[in-house]
Symmetry: none
Subunit: 408 residues, 2 copies
């Protein structure tokens, strides 16, 4: 099956936003054995949009559109498909009712222009949007498919998973393809690739490495006539990789670092407190993305001012002697967090996102420490990047130190 | 002049890299009065690449290609243009010599396959590449232009500035284009559009609305023979919009909400403390994205456990009577943050990202409060979305309440 992605919106042609939707969708397609040949960005112009969708529909079995489903005059995806197929858009009373109740539930009246979000053409079905006002369209015409989803990334991803994927599974035939991703923290991409070099050239399953913002991903993909064989192929390679990489692997597939840690803390009924300087709340926010956070996260203390840290139980003299950007300060903060909020575990990260964050300290210096019932471990890292990446990466590596402390 | 961008490389179709080149180039074009109608990504397949370049060349005055200029068999941009125009690629002795000396200067011998980087066709000139091995091509054919640049972003940008821009300035005549973006918080996209409806159909300047994750953006774009006229056109409309929208507008162009608030706090030498329940650190992290944060952010307290909040100065009885998810709790938290960390301003947000975050409270309920030197304001909001969006939006609206409190 040949697919094509269209990202719709003049803001893409003005360079105001970068098209991350297309790359995300492109990553999903190989798992269905779907080949992607083209990606295009097109503006909110009815004629050009209609031409572009028509060419895509003519040459590709599946066209995936994002954007242009809003209520305004600039939102023309529905109109373009209606023009192309010569099928008029008709308001669906049940969709309109649902839309009005969506607004009503927020104490608002629906603006009249939103009614066009409740339309369909003869060849289209609705793709439900539980997280926004714009339902998508699933169009089947002469054995070819068009999926239209909103441009807002989280709405698009939800609709893809819940609405488009089941339809693809029904309709896409051929071999059964399975994937598994192993997630790694503690080594860079080249080092990981060297460790698994003898498997990289394998053809079934294939093995590929990706540098992601939560570590290195090892992706295993197998292809077989049936699911059991595909699963066995993956399983065999996975065992070998796990033997070789051990605890460098922190999770697989949809598992997140914070979720894995949340699971470990919850299983052992441990509560965690956090103190962070320089990361500005990113460490707490990351931990609170774990679904178990209400059952392990006691509290987070965020400041980079020495007198505030002192108020939270960090020794003033120690801060003066070593400065906040030190192993000693990170360790004292982990202990102070644990003691001041009365938990079994304390985690601290000190990071300098900018050159001037802490006087005389270079950007990208990061210290982290864990205090687990009085036993303290710390680590240090230098990472040259922009401020938001330094904060994020300092937090991720702080979490990985916590994970490794909990393993023992 | 009509332009089109082609980004070339199979890695784009696999989602392994995100196409940031196209967005960067798209941002450059308006300043030359060049209209961009299409962006496409295409893989390293000779036939599809040739078809795509041919279509672009047929319909656009200027085609800007990036990628596919390397030395390997997968690098096919030169071949595709040669196929399309029916002009054979010929090795240029002076280019080959320069390439060999580039390698020689690095103590390496040039691999023989690199010789294809020293070729031209009859209609092409070389675009020098001082920072890499791949020279670009500038093709002129039947009064239309094709610029081919490397895919490596810094090589592309250098070549654009030094080689392509001078050629465009020579050849492109016509109008001067200017844009301005006004950023709005406090109303939805439809409501904003209704407020400015009489200007939406204006043709010069044009006015468009975009829903972004930091509010609604209103983009004004003017076109004129000279810069002064273009600027006057924008200015005239901007004044009318500012009169109508007033303090709903929080910033313009590159300004961020946290930066605007940071500026207000810094100007008035006010320090801020934050207490957040349910947003898990997102509010603190957002505020610390402001470049001025070291000069106004005292500290952040993150917890959703009543006994921890009580330890930070929130009245236990009040929490028991009203629960954390209440106007009363948010107000008490703003005051407690201010008093416990000794600042002029306290900000609190209480949000339920999930249905079970606070017993009996629906997902998406958000309370926020500001205490400015003892004068307390609060607000409430319901927003149905996923947990991370609820946390982010609760924080953004908390910041907007703070902004509005500081305006008075």
């Amino acid at each position: 099956m040949k697919a094509e992605i269209l990202s719709i919106g003049t803001e893409l042609l003005l360079g105001q936003i970068i098209d991350t939707n297309a790359a995300w969708l492109a990553q999903q397609l190989p798992d269905f054995g779907i080949d992607l040949y083209f990606i295009s960005q097109v503006g909110d112009n009815r004629q050009r949009l209609t031409e572009t969708i028509k060419r895509a529909h003519d040459r590709s079995d599946l066209v995936i559109c994002t954007g242009g489903l809003g209520p305004t005059e600039d939102d023309l995806t529905r109109e373009a498909i209606s023009d192309m197929l010569g099928e008029p858009m008709e308001v669906q009373p049940d969709l309109e009712k649902a839309l009005r109740s969506y607004f009503g539930g927020r104490g608002m009246e629906m603006p009249e222009r939103n009614v066009k979000q409740a339309t369909l053409i003869r060849s289209a079905q609705t793709l439900d949007n539980p997280v926004g006002t714009a339902p998508g369209w699933w169009v089947e015409h002469h054995g070819r498919f068009i999926a239209c989803m909103p441009g807002v990334p989280h709405e698009m991803k939800t609709m893809w998973q819940n609405q488009v994927v089941p339809r693809l599974r029904e309709r896409v035939t051929g071999s059964f393809i399975l994937s598994r991703t192993l997630k790694i923290l503690g080594k860079g991409e080249s080092a990981v690739e060297e460790m698994v070099q003898d498997y990289i050239r394998s053809t079934n399953p294939t093995l590929a490495t990706y540098a992601k913002n939560d570590g290195i991903h090892l992706r295993l993909t197998s292809k077989a006539a049936d699911e059991v064989t595909a699963r066995d192929l993956i399983f065999e390679l996975e065992i070998k990789l796990r033997e070789r990489l051990g605890t460098l692997i922190y999770g697989q597939d949809d598992e997140t670092l914070e979720g894995v840690i949340g699971g470990m803390l919850q299983d052992r009924s441990l509560f965690l407190s956090v103190m962070e300087a320089g990361t500005g709340g990113v460490l707490s926010a990351l931990l609170n993305d774990a679904p178990q956070s209400p059952r392990f996260f006691r509290g987070g203390l965020v400041s980079q001012q020495p007198e505030v840290l002192t108020g939270w139980g960090v020794d003033a003299e120690l801060l003066e002697t070593h400065s906040i950007m030190s192993k000693e300060a990170a360790e004292a903060m982990a202990t102070a967090a644990r003691q001041t909020l009365g938990t079994e575990v304390g985690l601290a990260v000190c990071a300098a996102p900018r050159k001037d964050t802490f006087p005389g300290k270079p950007a990208g210096q990061i210290f982290m420490a864990v205090d687990l019932r009085g036993s303290v471990k710390s680590a240090e890292l230098n990472y040259r990047s922009n401020p938001s990446e330094i904060k994020r990466l300092g937090s991720v590596f702080g979490l990985n130190l916590l994970r490794r402390s909990l393993l023992k």
